[in-house]
Symmetry: D2
Subunit: 461 residues, 4 copies
């Protein structure tokens, strides 16, 4: 069935029909499409388009279709062009020609924009919960892994010792920003296009504020032209997904490194590992690699949608039909990636003795410079002096703490016997106690703040 | 000068030195870098790193450098590796070895993240004003162009008549969402990384809350590792810029079409047109085409940054140095595109008689179907009937209003003599009076709402 | 079944198992996977891994699996992790433990890279044929539409008259470059990874040249590490697809414009049009809009793959598993878009009288300047003079040919009575007779060249 | 000066003028623009547009401008809109009104397309040389590092031992494909648009084949419409740059890992390292990180151009002006990245004893399975048996070679005393001797092949 059979003659070209058919993906809108139609049927009573009895009959018919959808039935036929067409066909099969009154004052343009938003209003809060669970997992790790030291890196090179709890929490805050952005995108999604018609508004005096409330929207859209062609919310969701993907990818990349034989800081649970078809010894961190690759593909989905939108003039064009596959794919993906990350992180094993042993002496260099600063040497000179000591030890082929005091003093006279007390990673960590630092007490404070952030009043989304 | 000369021997490879040098772009951070250093110098007094006198001397030196920067001087030398190095060198030339105390407890990692945010805290509010001016221009056009009818399009095909004011306002709302997103991005930009050191926090008891207030931030960052490697704010600015670009591109595309000989709806002021080197008659809408192309390049800038970020493990890596050029370019671009669009729109000429004349009779088809609905015909049947009438007129080679009543009634008996009164675009427009529709009174209401939105309480950003 | 069950204990996490399962997409490699295994079984005889009898039994088993696949059976079970695992399981069910000998000296890493290339070696030549058919369609239109004039545009503004045949052929040459690129990508796809093992090469003395020949490759890959991690061919295919998409999108965009009421140059066949659910009069160019949108998504697929590849260190990582979905999707899409474009173009109707009538007088301006050049006026002065005449006619509100001779001569004395003969679009077109120009004879020559290009000796791809 | 001053009144809007001005980037076309004009002046003699004397005077004037450009002078003024305008202004200042004859039959549309191609015909061969030098560096390393063993990785996990020479060469072949693609892009760049006019061809009987030869092109473009709007060559260059960037990024990523304290396989020369402003001990691999980040930005440049092109209808639009900045930036970048990589690789130090020592016993697992295969055990069973042995040793907390024979035989009776001889990485490497494998003799063969490939007959590009 086509909803526009009167105008064109002959049948659609078969390749074009395949290209045109959106049912393979917009069938996912089935339930929200029916819900939107139920609300529309009710709204048509007040303007007199439907009698209360007609509306009730239509609503009944739609309810029975909804029940079918909810129970997993997909009673679609080859000729259904899209979900809206399919629902209208099913309705007319069930209640006869009265079904033909439902589409009064409405267009597939405002209908699909409404459906898509309704679908996201259901999906996004679920993603917010999954994000929150991953954040909670990171807090739990921060608490569980208290007191574990490991080298902190910049440029992949050992930089300064840090607490593992601090490291887990760094990822918490990135996800917190993701959750904020998701809530904001959801807020902008909660505007109702229904009642915008094809582009110019509906010609029937529908109370769109009541309709919006009925469907769970915050408000009706203020401009019908904008309403049918606005896909900002889709772009925002894809940007959110891409950036959340980037955050998980960065975390995954680090975890992959930490599971190598060379680092050996941690190992994944067998439930989150795979083997090799050829190499019997292999235990591979596949989930982390898939997180990483899929975050690359998410960037592409965002790019693709933006490139598509850019080419349109203002107004509705069929191009907009292609907004849904990338968003559906992104939502599906995040619904898989987020719990995998939560599960993987909560089940991995940390080897505290290995992370501690990995801390090389040179990472104490900043503290050595600070030691000189404490003796009145300007930092820049102190920095140079310690750098020379590091080079000297390297040239002698010895560890930095084994460099004799005489050598230190040859470099700078302010070095004294007590410099060797600096070679204590725990002390170094304790020193970074300003707000946001890696000192144990600062990290405890941070854990409290993180928990408050999780439990705090959240937006509806 | 290098800030790390003690560790490595020999000089840098010359091609690498060119690759490594960020001064060509980070010189734009010159003023905020000095401001950050002034605040840092003051903050070093409380922990006893600097005496009040030392701090005063450093601040004086920095003030003189700031004056130079403000007056347009750029006293940089070949060997300055980046803006931070350059400022430290200048300071030490002016106040001697005391300058070497300033970098205590600070790293270029937290410093550059702070600088970049400060720079955006200056630039983004200005962009918000430019956005607001473009929105105000659209409202002004909506008021000025009251009562002008033109064809509304979907799929580039004439769909239903609309008011030009309604069309201008459609673009207003897209920009309103852009302004909201910009304010949100700015809010997340206002977190201060300073005091995070290289990655682990600062080892001196700095009051980071006071420091944040001093520099105009909302709060210090809660995790030092996250603080030095978080570039979400840069990605958000680029997403904002790309989507704002998409909105302007869509508007530009439509305006380009409307200035063609074939549409002829409007013409650009000569001040916003160009000619051809070969074809003497040409008057080209170059600004609109450049808006369109540059919005394509903005998508690429976003993509590039995300691809760059995705590849990093958690922690600071040098890759992050490349966050700035795309953001600087995007900000520069929007600072040019937004006023060009405002100027072009406020000076273009609309030809109301041409837009009115362009409305073809077939665009009345929906109203004809509604006419049948008013006579009790279910919409779906009404739709089919009118479609047949359109085809019939086309087959006869006549205009739709010239199709004799007999022909109409052959198609559906519900058609009566009064159907011809439907052929009135003004009437069609008036009928779309529900909230958000194109009816004159709905548009007036919308103008009021738009004005309130502009004048309403805005966030600080 | 897993191919690595000995190493890890317990079962896979359920969400991870879903993330990890590639069978939903790599089932498309089913037939080539079996073909690769058949060749591998044969190759294992020479090194003595299999006796000829064992090889024959394995090949028989594989043949029966292949028959199943060819007849559309997909005898997969939930626990099949990927297509390779599924085939090995099926084989062992059919021939018993002998199946366990097949994977000797081989890894899924070289196997999947081989499969993917084999799949493309089948798919790409088919795409080349579809491209060629679209090119042939354009030539056919160029021949059919001989002699039709229309305005040529730059900046969307009328520029100079051209022949429609010339316009169709412009798109021919873009597709010709696409076909060249496709052949080059195919050439690089025809390198065989099989025999590279997991990364280090195979430990059995396989004759990889013979194996490559057996499977239809040009040559074996020269480096095993590169062979298992090289996905250049996938990136090339996606770039080819994206650029081909861009070419079709540009053509589609122009055709959409030409079908508007305002241009009215052509109309699509009903078989390539759709209507509206609300507006009975609508006849929409949906296929062209879908070509346009899908070309946007293709850009995203390329971006996504490149972003994914960029993040990898050299060597095989699981991320590479995600190379296939974007390529499969791109190939599927092009297999749909190319024939739709061919069908749409060969069935559309051109309105020569409307294209001719659309040519405005100002498009003769370049020829008027050339007229002055013919009378010895330097082109730059001639250009200025004609521009003034255009402005003068505009100011007087008359058509350019109606500007009296006196006015022309007030602008430049070199204008004479015969200037009015210039107002002849056919003459203008005839003048552009240099190679590559729009003159009828040049276009005929171009048609001949285009045909030769199509028929000429093509690369194998 | 504008080249189209007669048509429009008043002056350009100041913000638009800034947006419109392309001289900041197209000044790079200065020399090729003059060369194109010299050739065009000569070509105008045959059709009688210029006398030989006039042509000579113009050529002389242009030569003097070219000399200025070559000596670094850039005599541009504020009002020059683009490089073509600037050159025409300079010429008219030097030779008077005769300059006004040069632009006859030519447009900036065909001129800029010609200039851009000429510029690339100069730049791309240079890039090919830089690529070749990097390839030669890799061969040199492969020869220099003969006999060094290191762990080979898949999924970042140790997989099998390989030769370092083999690893270097893996990257050689990726660059070889880049060089092929570059040559192909260059071949398509060598088509001359000049003589296509604005869009319709030139109205003067220019011999475009002779003109093409004069300028060093392979042939004139066959269709004027296509010629002025084709930017495939720009897209191809950006794709080439992005993929070459990806290859260097993957190599860089691996080298960064290998320089960590944890891997410790190699160290960069000080000339290719940087230090830290805060941490005195740091020696950072900045060049590799910048290679990595810039390859991300290159992906964005490709995306941006494709998104820009996609939005255009067929024909020349001003948008195309924005094709140049991303290409110039990409070329500049590769001209820096390629030599930095060559320099860095040729000067880094490898620590053979550390790479050898890093090889863990589990990497012998495949060879152990092959050992069982040699005793008639089907590979799949052998794989399982060895996996169990690995797990058993892990459970016992001992190294795999320390697992007593009894334990091995409990797992599979085919294990014998000689299994311990398998624990020899050199033997493992020697076994992978099939073409393309990591065995010393196979690698020698590969080095010979690589050298032949470099020295072999190259395309002109």
């Amino acid at each position: 069935m086509k909803l526009w059979s009167g105008r064109l003659s002959g049948s659609m070209d078969e390749t074009f029909a395949r290209l045109n058919n959106s049912l393979p993906f917009d069938r996912r809108l089935a339930q929200v499409d029916v819900l939107g139609s139920i609300a529309w049927a009710k709204a048509l009573v007040e303007p007199g388009v439907l009698t209360p009895e007609e509306a009730a009959a239509i609503v009944n018919g739609l309810q029975s279709i909804l029940e079918d959808f909810k129970s997993g039935k997909e009673p679609f036929v080859e000729s259904d062009e899209d979900i809206h067409t399919a629902v209208e066909r099913l309705l007319s099969e069930r209640i006869g020609s009265l079904a033909g009154k439902l589409h009064t004052g409405r267009s597939r343009n405002d209908q699909v924009a409404t459906d898509f938003r309704l679908w996201l209003m259901d999906a996004l809060p679920h993603l917010a919960v999954l994000l929150l669970e991953l954040q909670a997992t990171l807090i739990a790790r921060a608490e569980q892994d208290r007191g574990i030291l490991l080298p902190g890196y910049t440029h992949f090179q050992q930089a300064q010792p840090i607490l593992l709890s601090h490291w887990w929490l760094a990822h918490f805050w990135a996800l917190q920003r993701d959750r904020e952005r998701l809530a904001e995108a959801l807020r902008r999604t909660r505007k109702m296009p229904l009642g915008s018609g094809a582009l110019a508004g509906t010609a029937y005096p529908i109370d769109r504020f009541a309709l919006a409330q009925d469907l769970g929207f915050d408000a009706p859209s203020p401009n019908s032209l904008d309403a049918v062609s606005d896909r900002d919310f889709a772009a925002e969701v894809l940007f959110w997904a891409a950036l959340t993907g980037v955050h998980m990818s960065r975390l995954a990349e680090a975890l992959i490194l930490y599971t190598t034989a060379e680092f050996g800081f941690l190992s994944l649970a067998d439930a989150f590992s795979t083997g090799s078809s050829l190499m019997p010894q292999k235990k591979n961190p596949d989930p982390l690699e898939l997180v990483r690759s899929k975050s690359g593909l998410l960037i592409g989905r965002l790019t693709g949608l933006l490139a598509m939108l850019k080419g349109l003039p203002s107004a509705y064009d069929k191009d907009l039909q292609d907004d849904k596959p990338p968003v559906f794919e992104a939502v599906d993906l995040l619904e898989l990636l987020l719990p995998v990350m939560s599960g993987l992180i909560s089940t991995l094993t940390v080897y505290p003795e290995r992370t501690r042993a990995a801390i090389g002496w040179p990472v104490m260099a900043t503290d050595l410079a600070d030691y000189l600063v404490g003796r009145g040497v300007p930092f820049r000179q102190a920095h140079t002096a310690v750098a020379q000591a590091v080079s000297r030890a390297e040239a002698l082929g010895i560890n930095l703490p084994d460099l004799p005091l005489g050598e230190w003093q040859k470099i700078h006279l302010a070095f004294g016997e007590d410099l060797f007390a600096v070679f204590d990673p725990e002390r170094a960590v304790r020193r970074r106690s300003a707000y946001g630092g890696t000192a144990p007490q600062a990290v405890e404070e941070q854990i409290r703040l993180a928990k408050m952030t999780l439990e705090g009043p959240r937006e509806r989304g």
